[in-house]
Subunit: 137 residues, 3 copies
């Protein structure tokens, strides 16, 4: 059994931004040498997430509008009494999910034709990271 | 360590449909020979999901109504400028989740008494699949 | 490869309550002896969840208010024709997620500085449990 660990770092220009990371994860899987197994990709911050969906700019815009509707910024959240202003980011990342597990078959990410992996930032413009943990044979 | 891979195929009659797959996954686990470990069950399409919840027809209807409320079809989504009409399916599957990891203890899915696994289709009437990746001893 | 299984039990005083379980999981990881790997933490009931977010009382209150808005209790759900009154709990746990996978590096949960793990109860005042499945080297 092989266990291989790596980290991806992010520092987005915008407060809210989705970053495609499929190729970076595929590269980590290759480095791990794992032929059959899976890789956990998990945001290490509580105002960002990791999800699998379509790589289409219109849909990415739809996600942003939708998340703002379901979990609006600027409300009078209890969390803001601590001096924070990002309660909505905690809620938004909850809807998107904060981690995924990707299957590895024959040294390759075993994804469907349209599956792409994204890091979802909701409070950017600072250094953040996601862990990649590969397990397998 | 054992890693065993299989795929489940779907072609639902309705556009939106929840299909119970607990028994199919249990069967794949048996075939794998894994005694202790876990199995990843993950939709390979971005308009379908996999989730664990109750096997009760009324609740399944409640889920459908609720998802339509949170992520309505028929809105003027940006994604539809590509010719697609299924942006809501991408959002709905995000709420339900696109994958689960099920524990295996003593060669059996170690689920609570009411836990059932479902494949959630939001753009059906075509061939789709989910991957099953069993890891363990 | 090591696979180690344990269970956490809950019996909350309130119907709806979030219980921090980071330390309990860290303890199970230590007992497992796993140096490098991951641990699955998964609710075994369909009206509770497991999630990672901030340990801040104001935000926890925000989550409760938000969930009640997205998935209200007291509506005329189909599920209630079975005699149940908890359809909203099934929906709320779906938003929060019912399981997480936590990375283990150097015998320790490899979490970001603010990541805390919670068991989310939506129909409490009865005995419930979550499974912990550690895999690794």
């Amino acid at each position: 059994m092989v266990v291989h660990t790596d980290y991806l770092f992010f520092n987005t220009k915008k407060r809210q931004e989705f970053v495609r990371i499929t190729d970076e994860i595929a590269s980590i899987v290759k480095t791990s040498g794992v032929k059959e197994g899976m890789v956990l990709v998990s945001a290490m911050h509580i105002t960002s997430g990791v999800f699998v969906n379509d790589w289409e700019e219109g849909l990415i815009e739809d996600f942003q509008v939708w998340l703002e509707k379901l979990a609006p910024s600027g409300l009078d959240y209890q969390h803001h009494q601590t001096g924070e202003d990002n309660a909505d980011a905690h809620l938004k990342r909850t809807i998107m999910g904060h981690q995924v597990m990707l299957p590895i078959t024959d040294r390759t990410l075993d994804l469907g034709p349209w599956e792409q992996v994204f890091y979802a930032e909701f409070v950017g413009r600072r250094k953040k990271r996601a862990i990649d943990k590969v397990v397998g044979l």
